[in-house]
Symmetry: C2
Subunit: 326 residues, 2 copies
Amino acid sequence: MQAVDVSADALAVPDLDAIRSAQVRIAAHVHRTPVLRCRSLDAEVGAELYFKAENVQRTGAFKARGASNAVFSLSSDEARRGVVTHSSGNHGAALAYAAQRRGIPAFVVMPENAARVKQDNVRRRNGTIRFCAANVEAREAACAAVRRETGATLIHPFDDPRVIAGQGTAVLELLEESPGLDAVVAPVGGGGLLSGTAIAVKSIDRSVRVYGAEPVNADDAARGFRSGKVEPLPAATTIADGLRTTLSPRTLGAIRAHVDAIGTASEEAIVRAMRMVWERMKIVIEPSAAVPLACLLEKTVDARGMRVGIILSGGNVDLDRLPWQA
Amino acid sequence: MQAVDVSADALAVPDLDAIRSAQVRIAAHVHRTPVLRCRSLDAEVGAELYFKAENVQRTGAFKARGASNAVFSLSSDEARRGVVTHSSGNHGAALAYAAQRRGIPAFVVMPENAARVKQDNVRRRNGTIRFCAANVEAREAACAAVRRETGATLIHPFDDPRVIAGQGTAVLELLEESPGLDAVVAPVGGGGLLSGTAIAVKSIDRSVRVYGAEPVNADDAARGFRSGKVEPLPAATTIADGLRTTLSPRTLGAIRAHVDAIGTASEEAIVRAMRMVWERMKIVIEPSAAVPLACLLEKTVDARGMRVGIILSGGNVDLDRLPWQA
């Protein structure tokens, strides 16, 4: 059990200015992704849907935004010593990408049994992998060791104002491209994307609703939103592997301050929503990216009759094992 | 054995004016699809690739263009009696779509054992299915019967100048959006898309090369291109199910007159190219749409160093059975 740090620094979040600065800082390193429409999905939901396609973002996920903002925010002294993280998923690949763009070392700590494709995603971008045993203590010890040896800066996947500011840039583009939205829905795992999204949206127009979308099998954010505490997530069995993470005090605070509600989706609805997007929009999205649409289909986020922006968070999926193939 | 009709009418093809007229005629009924780029595929091929994403076209394939042009070219007298075809694939669905847009009946003849999804694609658009035995004679007899009963106009999937003109509109958009292309590659099955593409491109700029791309397992167009005759295709075993068709004298003539070369791709390369597009571009394309990239990878179409337009012909694929899953 770790003590929870609730100092001002541990709760600091970026404001709209910081998100706008991030947008400028990362502009050369990320795509301005398209906003897609699909009439037949509009008809399913009974709303006008505007999909921000971060599945075609560099590295295949919005994570390139936060990682790039963090890496390019470092002083040249800090940068020279590199960056380190223990996320082996989309953030790990994104951090390696951003470090490669800046020409600095990236260290990614991952368990010895990490999937081949995750290892490749880091190595392909010249990242260095440090293996550790598959538990939290080993992971944190390995991170600490890298920092001692190299002086690298830890870039947390979501509990970092620079990362949150970067993630918030996606919705800035969405609002510019699709004026007049009534609501925005983003998936929530650790809460970096949802925090950045909510801060940006509410700072621009308080009347636009912001919803989180979460698997019912990993509903710590929905519980924490009600209780005001970081809620534990004993065994997240969801297929939405990007969302098997609990909030931090920082992201919980931002979400309680700026988000209107959090909907939850069943595993069945997530798979159905993912398949609908593949079939009707002809795009590849990962399970986590399907959770907002799944919430709309199950009406745990009710946006009927509205103009709704949806962050399609990523498109990294194992094409050998699709979730609708038992 | 049928006699081959080589009368002037059977060889007539549209000119650039007809393709431009088609563009105006169908504008309200088809999407102007995006042109996509992918640096990592550029690097694989050693060329700048411009992908015209007809996988996100209405009905999921470029076929909506030709079918719409044919249906909206009919006089109101003809239209009232409806349209009929014996293609149960993308053209059948596209014809039902176009007929629905004009508010007229569409009859689609298909074998009794046609896949459920093909039946649904027609019925969903209010098309009427006429089942027949699974052979050419039964199919043609069923078409003839529909025409006798209803007076419906036969809209052939490719051997029709109106259809060819419609298919040629995709490359008009591609050339507008991506000026300075050195070459364009389109898949070739019956040859409607390739004919329309080649006529449009060469009429606008003779210096732009036009290549056909075909599975080596269904290489009748490559053989016919050399021999000058419609070559038989005994048993097309290719995974690219949209390309298991022979040319007609009309499309062969247009292709020999306007196409620079036809490349062929192995089944292995088609599957590899399809998967690369899914993984790196995060879009869903069908096997036929992957054949141009497969030819570039196998260098049977050599476009290294060029700016190359590629028609991604469609995105209708059975998500329960992907070709890389043995």
